[in-house]
């Protein structure tokens, strides 16, 4: 009957998202575009966390840590690596082809000293060319770094189950936050690390020029990343991989006894999801332009968890849709209002409501609020079809199938 409905709806949603920035033209354009970009960012995080926690049963609280590793990996890459056409003889450098790849020395925020590259430039004639490597290599570096740490953490937590795993990953996240805050000379600590915008020199697409602060290029970048991650996860979910990681969640010993290589799949699911988180973090870092250790506070992790839970912990699409809805709701609920003499500061109360909603959703709607609606749509007509088929069966035969 209406089997094509879910695919058609998904296609329609993607089409709307693709056309949205070209059609929308109200005065709050930049704000709404910013909301969308941030919503995609959280959607990647929430859906990859639902793959890790909902499908594979690995309740990791360190997802934001991988996000931060991606962002800081990319940020450090674009702050400390330069190409020069002459050797500086002051910095760490490697000759590659006719150029030198220069690694700057960390000097911190308030230092009066110049970096080794600045000192070298002062001594050089003006013909020497200093360029930065493309920031896409930085993003790639951040993603690989995220995957590497995902591998290490995945291997370290092999022996740990539910509660212990949650504690360990919180510990990892806190150690990372402390390290980033403390190593001020390298990471700039709480002052934040500045990142170049995604398209530093602007970009020309189809004859139209977008400058570095335009919202449209980062919108499409984040949207493509989001759709790419969703496609990978949807494919994984339907493949043997999805079955295997669900078997880990249900009963690891039984899965191992049936021949599932549990070690490999537990590590693999960590690597894949942390690479996705790192990718989202790196792109978002370049889009925002500055990253601080505060992206690692527990509130951020709580937000991702509540998005995934409200959307549907055991559904990737549900978690992504939930993240987008929650992100919009959170931002649009910011306006404080006054009842009589009492001013309600919505910037805090909205979080209280979300905390309550998170608890109630967990308690009463285990599958989340969005996922059941999605299921209703995707199974539209199936129930009626089944009933119709049953009625066609000869008398007495349907009672066997009925409970």
């Amino acid at each position: 009957m209406r089997r094509w409905l879910p695919q058609a709806l998904a296609g329609l949603a993607i089409l709307i998202l693709l056309l949205f920035p070209l059609v929308y033209s109200r005065s709050d354009y930049n704000f709404i575009m910013h909301l969308w970009i941030t919503a995609f960012f959280y959607a990647i995080l929430a859906s990859s966390w639902s793959l890790l926690a909902g499908y594979a049963g690995q309740f990791s609280f360190g997802h934001m840590a991988f996000m931060a590793i991606g962002a800081y990996g990319s940020g450090l890459f674009s702050n400390y690596l330069f190409w020069t056409s002459e050797p500086t003889n002051l910095c760490y450098e490697i000759q590659l082809g006719g150029r030198w790849l220069v690694l700057l020395d960390p000097i911190g925020v308030t230092s009066t000293q110049n970096t080794c590259l600045d000192r070298a430039i002062a001594a050089w004639p003006s013909s020497v060319v200093v360029t930065q490597p493309s920031l896409w290599f930085g993003i790639l570096f951040g993603i690989l770094l995220g995957g590497f740490f995902g591998f290490i953490i995945g291997a370290l937590v092999l022996r740990l189950r539910a509660t212990y795993l949650a504690l360990f990953t919180i510990g990892f996240s806190e150690i990372l936050r402390a390290t980033i805050s403390a190593e001020i000379p390298v990471t700039r600590g709480q002052a934040g690390l500045e990142l170049p915008p995604l398209y530093p020199n602007g970009i020309t697409v189809l004859g139209r020029f977008f400058d570095a602060t335009d919202k449209i290029p980062p919108y499409y970048t984040m949207l493509l990343l989001f759709l790419g991650c969703m496609a990978i996860m949807a494919w994984l979910e339907r493949s043997r991989f999805g079955l295997f990681i669900r078997s880990l969640r249900e009963d690891e010993e039984a899965a191992a006894a049936l021949g599932v290589n549990t070690v490999r799949y537990r590590i693999l699911v960590f690597v894949i999801t942390s690479m996705m988180a790192a990718a989202a973090g790196a792109v978002q870092g370049h889009y925002i332009g500055i990253i601080t250790p505060n992206i690692l506070i527990i509130l951020q992790m709580s937000l991702v968890i509540s998005m995934a839970v409200i959307g549907g912990l055991e559904s990737i699409v549900g978690a992504a849709v939930g993240a987008i809805i929650v992100q919009f709701a959170l931002e649009l609920l910011r306006n404080s209002f006054t009842i009589g003499t009492i001013t309600v500061d919505m910037s805090i109360w909205r979080l209280v409501f979300f905390g309550l909603l998170l608890m109630l959703t967990l308690r009463f709607w285990r599958n989340g609020l969005v996922y059941p609606i999605l299921v209703r749509f995707s199974r539209a007509g199936v129930a009626r079809e089944t009933v119709a088929k049953r009625q066609q069966l000869p008398e007495g035969e349907d009672s066997r199938g009925a409970r």
Binding site: F168, G171, A182, I298, D345
Partner: protein, 414 residues
């Protein structure tokens, strides 16, 4: 640091031989068909402490590994750490100044007692309900907030002990209500995968309570005044009198160690509460019932104890202990709705270190974490860096314990 090479090489030596011992020893024991349950941990500790000198005999003769060896090795590791640090950095305050060390040690123990009380609540919850409450820090925060509001806003001038009672009652009530509504269904089979549900729902409670308090109380730091103004106590004092009359004194021992008044009162209250708790657990019927449920749920139910009631009681009591430690510490630290997070993380460290569900483990773990934090803050050469790393010290301990010996010091076997 003057000779960082000594320190780094000592640390590297321990890491390398610890890893070698931890990886190779179980293999050798497995090949000789011996008990490997302790081999990894014992190998790692013996390797880190003695290097090849201890490992090679163990590998050659593969004796039965006694727990004593691991304990001795850990003491040896601490010894190597301390000696190499003092050789590497002879001018450091905590190497050169004995009184500084004594003062840091005492303060570490004093604050450790309060940490222990808080972790005791968490371990009590774990031993009965089998879950870790991720909202434990929020109970701590609420305890402190209640004392502040009680003594400063609602009933100014009332006795702080009344405020302590109020903090206990409120945190107990929150614990009861939450357990009844959200955790009760876990035990009646109404939720799938109860372990994971418990993690998430207590996490949700933490989120909710933290922002609720922030919405009601605001985000400005508050601080309660001292509970008791005692005269400056100096023991033994240079002037023969050991009670000097000044209004706001600290406790000074042997002219060198100074414990600030708020911390001292907090530790004394914590010790009193600890005594009452032990009395309750070991001398009353309800306390015995609680311990019985933690040992064997079914047998306790057969003996006429209602496990459901005990669940509620344990969760509320655990939350109350956290609230109480917050209530005693609000006079020592400035208080924000966010203070719960760090305290909760510290409690996790303590109960993992002491062994999940072990009451003496929680108390000893509290003392150890207090000492580690005191040493970490006092001895790291760069003070700004040291203060940023404070939450990380405990986390490093947590990570190491989870990797090497997930049962902790006194935990039951997993």
């Amino acid at each position: 640091m003057e000779h960082p090479l000594i320190f780094t090489s000592a640390i590297l030596w321990m890491i390398v031989w610890g890893t070698v011992g931890g990886v190779v020893t179980p293999r050798i024991y497995l090949r000789r068909d011996l008990d490997v349950s302790q081999a990894g941990f014992a190998g790692a500790t013996i390797g880190a402490a003695t290097g090849p000198f201890g490992l090679v005999p163990v590998w050659l003769y593969t004796p039965k590994l006694r727990p004593v060896w691991s304990i001795l090795s850990i003491i040896g590791m601490v010894g190597i750490f301390v000696v190499s640090f003092s050789l590497a950095d002879p001018d450091n305050y905590c190497v050169s100044s004995g009184s500084f060390v004594a003062s840091q040690l005492t303060n570490g123990i004093v604050i450790g007692i309060i940490y222990g009380l808080m972790a005791l609540g968490l371990t009590l919850i774990f031993s009965i309900l089998g879950i870790v409450s991720f909202a434990h820090g929020e109970f701590y925060m609420i305890g402190g907030m209640v004392v502040y509001y009680f003594t400063k806003v609602w009933f100014p001038g009332s006795h702080p002990l009344l405020a302590l009672v109020a903090a206990c009652l409120i945190t107990f009530a929150i614990g009861t209500v939450f357990e009844r509504i959200f955790l009760q269904p876990m035990h009646t089979g109404k939720v799938e995968r109860p372990g994971e549900y418990a993690i998430l729902v207590t996490f949700g409670l933490a989120f909710f309570l933290q922002y609720l308090v922030q919405a009601v109380a605001g985000a400005n730091p508050v601080k309660a005044s001292r509970f008791f103004d005692f005269p400056r106590l100096a023991f033994p004092s240079a002037e023969n009198a050991w009670l000097l009359k000044t209004s706001r004194g600290n406790l000074t021992l042997f002219d060198t160690v100074s414990i600030s008044n708020p911390r001292f009162t907090a530790a004394v209250i914590a010790l009193v509460m600890l005594g009452l708790l032990l009395l309750f657990l070991y001398r009353t019927w309800t306390g015995k019932a609680l311990r019985a449920v933690s040992q064997d749920r079914q047998a306790a139910a057969v003996a006429g104890i209602n496990p459901t009631t005990m669940n509620t009681l344990a969760f509320a009591l655990g939350g109350m202990l956290a609230g109480l430690s917050g209530a005693t510490l609000v006079q020592a630290f400035s208080w924000l709705p966010q203070v719960g997070a760090i305290a909760a993380l510290r409690s996790f460290v303590i109960i993992v270190l002491g062994g999940m569900g072990s009451l003496p483990g929680a108390f000893l773990g509290g003392l150890m974490v207090g000492l580690i934090e005191a040493a970490g803050t006092g001895c790291i050469p760069d003070p700004t860096r040291a203060s940023s790393y404070i939450p990380a010290y405990g986390m490093i301990v947590l990570t190491l314990v989870l990797l090497l010996k997930p049962t902790g010091l006194f935990g039951r076997e997993l």
